[in-house]
Amino acid sequence: MKPFRFRATVNGRPVDLPVDPRRRLLDVLREDLGLTGTKEGCGEGECGACTVLLDGRPVNACLVLAPEAAGCDITTIEGVAVEGRLHPIQEAFLEAGAVQCGYCTPGMILAAKALLDKDPRPTDQAIKTAVSGNLCRCTGYVKIVKAVRLAAARLAREEGAV
């Protein structure tokens, strides 16, 4: 199989590497780029553990063939913290107790980030919709919704302070 030249922007940095086109974006992120924060749960599009942002929109990296993401701007959980400081959404998840085993957390946070980037003051309904493609088997969704609400309030305050 002829390798495909995979060029994209991952967490703000350009990447350029040959990949077997039969591999999924999930495999390239985890195995070639070492970005193991992106998890594989079901591998079938059902659980959202593999969520990454493709040009700002959440997608399941287990359903995307790697070459399909060429030319895109890709954000994984590793690209969310700024200069080693947790992103306000990450802090809010910790404070609200929205993390237990943590397996779903990277996907949840990226789904929440996509929402807040577009809609800084979401209703609870909008928050629930935004995380409806992400399963959590530990926490239940109440704390996760609370965490996103808290993050929205913090981000609004930070905005106001600038």
């Binding site: 969520t51 959440p58 997608v59 063939l65 409806s132 493609g133």
Partner: protein, 293 residues
């Protein structure tokens, strides 16, 4: 790693059609991949070639043109759910159906073309497109054909598309302002539930507040979406009221019963469709709940 196949990423529709016509062996078209990638991974499908449509930007457009609404096959569920024309009025049923598919991730990836060619009896866009009397434009090298969606879908998971053809576009005639549409699906609370039963309704108001035309398409009660013709006929020319609603609901339930025969799911679906039908008709025309004009 998925099983072996050659991957192709044509830069134009012409190149894609040429590849499909000339590649030897079996081939599969890749759009959003939400159905195809899991099927490849499970080994349900093992084509020699996978031809990606991802570079065909022209197939991502939605246009209003000469009395038709044209939707490119690569338009995603998210685009349908956000497109201003589909947010209110007659075409709302499309946005409502698109919003109930999967979760946000699947909506960002899955396409209208994939939903049609996948032809699942539970495909959520199929009832709205059936009610809109949609047509599909299917291209092959050196030609194309346009056919009604109703003729294109031939059974569960089956259409009359050939392996060397690409579904390029779906279109349907524009509706007047006095039309309203709605889509209701059962089991919506679980956002990943594959639809069990759904109804897409279009009600066109005529003079004096009567129903000039009603189009009702049922999903997941037959191998392909079906129109509830009895109910459509009895609504025509009459004024919406709670009494008329009950007549229509009974007729829709009969259509479901006729379609399902003595399948195990029949008693449940016959009863369940009543709630779905009430909700969809009231959403399309509130006078079904309250009477009045």
């Amino acid at each position: 790693m998925l099983p072996p196949f050659d991957y192709h990423r044509p830069a134009s529709l012409a190149e894609a059609l040429f590849l499909l016509a000339s590649l030897p062996g079996t081939k599969k078209i890749l759009a959003g991949g939400t159905d195809l990638v899991p099927a490849l991974r499970r080994g349900d499908l093992s084509p020699d070639h996978v031809v990606s449509l991802s570079q065909l930007a022209g197939m991502r457009e939605i246009k209003e043109d000469k009395g038709f609404i044209r939707i490119g096959a690569l338009v995603t569920f998210s685009r349908l759910a956000e497109f201003p024309l589909f947010l209110k009025g007659p075409y709302k049923l499309l946005a409502e159906a698109a919003l109930q598919v999967g979760g946000p991730q699947v909506r960002n990836q899955g396409t209208i073309g994939g939903n049609i060619v996948n032809a699942s009896p539970a495909g959520d866009l199929l009832p709205p497109l059936t009610a809109l009397e949609a047509r599909v434009r299917v291209c092959r090298q050196g030609g194309e054909r346009v056919l009604p969606l109703a003729g294109f879908l031939t059974g569960p998971g089956r259409t009359c598309i050939h392996p060397e053809e690409i579904l390029a576009e779906v279109d349907f005639p524009a509706l007047p302002e006095r039309a309203a549409g709605s889509f209701v699906k059962l089991g919506r609370r679980n956002s990943l539930a594959i639809s069990r039963i759904s109804l897409a309704a279009i009600v066109i108001r005529g003079e004096g507040g009567i129903v000039e035309e009603a189009r009702l398409a049922l999903g997941a009660v037959a191998p392909v979406p079906i129109r509830a013709r009895k109910a459509e006929a009895l609504l025509r020319g009459r004024k919406p009221s709670p009494a008329l609603l009950e007549e229509a609901v009974a007729a829709i339930s009969e259509t479901v019963a006729d379609s399902l025969g003595d399948r195990p799911s029949a008693p449940y679906k016959r009863a369940a469709v009543r709630g779905v039908a009430r909700e969809a008709l009231i959403k399309a025309d509130p006078r079904f709940a309250s009477g009045g004009c």
